[in-house]
């Protein structure tokens, strides 16, 4: 089996007396979608924040492409190839859709100190941006302000921005949140396609999407991973049944 791209070992984080990450170990391998599920308050978002560097863990390690990420911040991790989407859509509201994606292409290019050439007439930026927008079905919406996009479009815009970074790993924090059934189905198809670009760590509540997409699933409850396995393992795991699936199903 291939060396994991993202490897989390014994990750622990507490806020005061509350342990939000309790010796979490998890990995992500090339070409897979690894879903992270668990009830609200299980510590999924805190885990994502630690992976992308917004929070530093108390102990344990996160290795990415063979490198220990300890001490690196959000910016550096993004540059190394970790692309995240946010649970609550996070885009630049006064920019157009195209400008938002161009910003991400520019971030990946590592060159933000050009002062005179207009970005929108730079095909090395707009070309890839339009291509990524097409992948998520936003063609034709280039000049719409991000603030007036529909909720579903904004989720896809975030995905286009993640794609634009040409990352080695996608960290997707509840990409289906707030989408209707139709939107979820569309997005599921887009995500299924995405795994060929880079493996995905998918935090998601929508079980239909998770079961349709995931190669492996880890279940997080009260900061602990109680099970990791393929879809069938997880569906039939009694502990998962009682602590999580039972209450949502």
């Amino acid at each position: 089996m291939a060396e994991p791209i993202l490897e989390i070992r014994d990750l622990t984080k507490s806020f005061g007396a509350l342990t939000v990450s309790d010796h979490i170990s998890l990995d992500l391998r090339a070409g897979e979608i690894h879903a992270l599920i668990g009830p609200n308050g299980a510590g999924k978002s805190t885990l994502i924040k630690q992976i992308c560097g917004e929070l530093q863990q108390d102990s344990g390690s996160i290795r990415f492409a063979g490198r220990d990420l300890a001490g690196t911040g959000t910016v550096e991790r993004a540059r190394l190839g970790l692309a995240r989407t946010f649970q609550v859509s996070s885009v630049a509201p006064e920019f157009t859709t195209l400008q938002n994606v161009v910003l991400a292409v520019q971030g990946a290019s590592g060159r933000s100190f050009g002062f005179l050439r207009p970005v929108l007439s730079d095909p090395s930026l707009t070309g890839p941006a339009r291509r990524h927008m097409e992948r998520v079905g936003l063609t034709g919406r280039e000049n719409i302000l991000a603030s007036i996009l529909s909720h579903g479009e904004r989720r896809r815009l975030e995905l286009a921005m993640a794609l634009a970074m040409e990352p080695h790993v996608f960290l997707l924090d509840e990409p289906m949140a707030g989408l209707g059934p139709e939107g979820s189905v569309e997005l599921t198809a887009i995500l299924a396609n995405l795994r060929h670009e880079a493996p995905i760590l998918l935090v998601e509540h929508d079980m239909d999407a998770v079961f349709a997409l995931a190669d492996r699933i880890s279940v997080l409850v009260y900061g602990r991973i109680i099970a990791t396995g393929n879809v069938d393992d997880i569906r039939s795991n009694p502990e998962v049944q009682s602590s999580y699936l039972g209450e949502t199903a």
Binding site: C52, G73, T74, V75, E76, A78, R79, A83, R84, F86, S90, V91, A92, P93, E94, F95, Q99, V102, L103, A104, Q106, G107, A108, G110, R111, S112, F113, G114, F115, L116, R117, P118, V119, L120, D122, L125, M161, A164, M165
Partner: protein
């Protein structure tokens, strides 16, 4: 944008034609007023790069305005007195050449902005506002208490500094200098806002978390923006010193910082020609109301309050009925 452009063009044409006509009608005072508008607008274009594009509410840009002014004043005073600025390790003479004074003002403003920005940008929000204010006060008090260059009394420039091919003592010639600088600064600011740098900078204002997440470090962006902003404002300060042929600590005062901000707000934050509209309105009010009432700043205060509370897009926003950012 479509409806804003004609307004902008009209403003610039007005700024150009009024002094030319006034000069033809032998009204040098009007030319001087227009020059003042161009210079204040240039200072505000500088601040607008930090404040409008970068969202960095600097309440200390008087420091850069004054540093540019003192740069011009100090070089000129040494030239006037035939005293070298320094004799060791090598001799540096003063100068009255604008072509040398400007790079010095840009450089001095840039270094000051880099230093102040590097410390201030460690903070954000209300801390940033107060810290930039406090650094400007620091420069202000230094100028007041340092006796070598006039201290509290300021420093006169007896003869306006010169520019090859122009008679800068003629009001219209000097206006041309200020106008060209205003245009250059504005065009640069427009180009900047559309560049890679401008995109990232404005992105960081709108959503700093997002900019970090795509791998761009906002601190460096903001520091560069703050430095460029300080340089342009310093250049305007050098021109202002030449306009008045006098430099004093009042250029460094916190009221000056506030006024440069007011130009931007009156015109409309983040609009490329907002600084011009704001500076023009300010000078017009000062001129028109200053004649009616000694207390024109009272009326300015009321107007400013009304603009902030009820006309958020500033003057250009009111005229074009469109809110706009970035």
């Amino acid at each position: 944008m479509l409806r804003e452009t004609p307004v902008n063009i009209a403003l610039v044409l007005l700024l150009l034609t009024v002094p030319v006509a006034a000069s033809a009608m032998d009204e040098p005072f009007i030319v001087t007023l227009a020059t003042k508008v161009a210079i204040f607008a240039t200072a505000a274009v500088g601040l607008n790069i930090a404040l409008g594009h970068g969202g960095l509410v600097s309440f200390g840009h008087a420091a850069f305005f004054g540093i540019g002014g003192y740069g011009a004043g100090i070089l000129a005073s040494h030239a006037q007195n035939y005293e070298p600025l320094m004799t060791w390790p090598f001799t540096v003479e003063g100068t009255q050449q604008m072509l040398i004074i400007w790079p010095v003002a840009l450089l001095a403003g840039g270094i000051a902005a880099l230093a102040i920005g590097a410390l201030s940008l460690r903070t954000s929000g209300v801390y940033f506002i107060m810290i930039t204010l406090a650094f400007a006060q620091m420069v202000f008090y230094f100028a007041v208490s340092w006796p070598a260059y006039g201290g509290e009394d300021g420093l006169p420039i007896y003869v306006r500094n010169s520019f090859p091919g122009l008679n800068t003592l003629r009001p219209l010639d000097f206006f041309a200098v200020a106008f060209v600088w205003f245009l250059a600064a504005t065009l640069f600011s427009i180009l900047l806002s559309r560049s890679r740098f401008g995109l990232a900078l404005q992105g960081a204002r709108q959503n700093v978390e997002r900019v970090r997440a795509v791998g761009i470090d906002p601190y460096r962006l903001r520091l560069v923006a703050f430095t460029i902003s300080g340089m342009i404002t310093a250049l305007a300060g050098a021109l202002y010193a030449d306009l008045n042929r006098f430099v004093s600590p009042s250029m460094l005062s916190w009221q000056t910082s506030g006024e440069i901000m007011v130009f931007i707000i009156l015109g409309g934050v983040g609009r490329h020609f907002g600084p011009l509209a704001g500076a023009a309105l300010f000078i017009l009010l000062e001129y028109a109301l200053g004649g009616v009432s000694e207390y024109w700043k009272f009326l300015l205060g009321v107007l400013l309050l009304l603009v902030v509370l009820f006309a958020h897009g500033g003057l250009i926003g009111v005229v074009t009925r469109r809110r706009h950012h970035g």
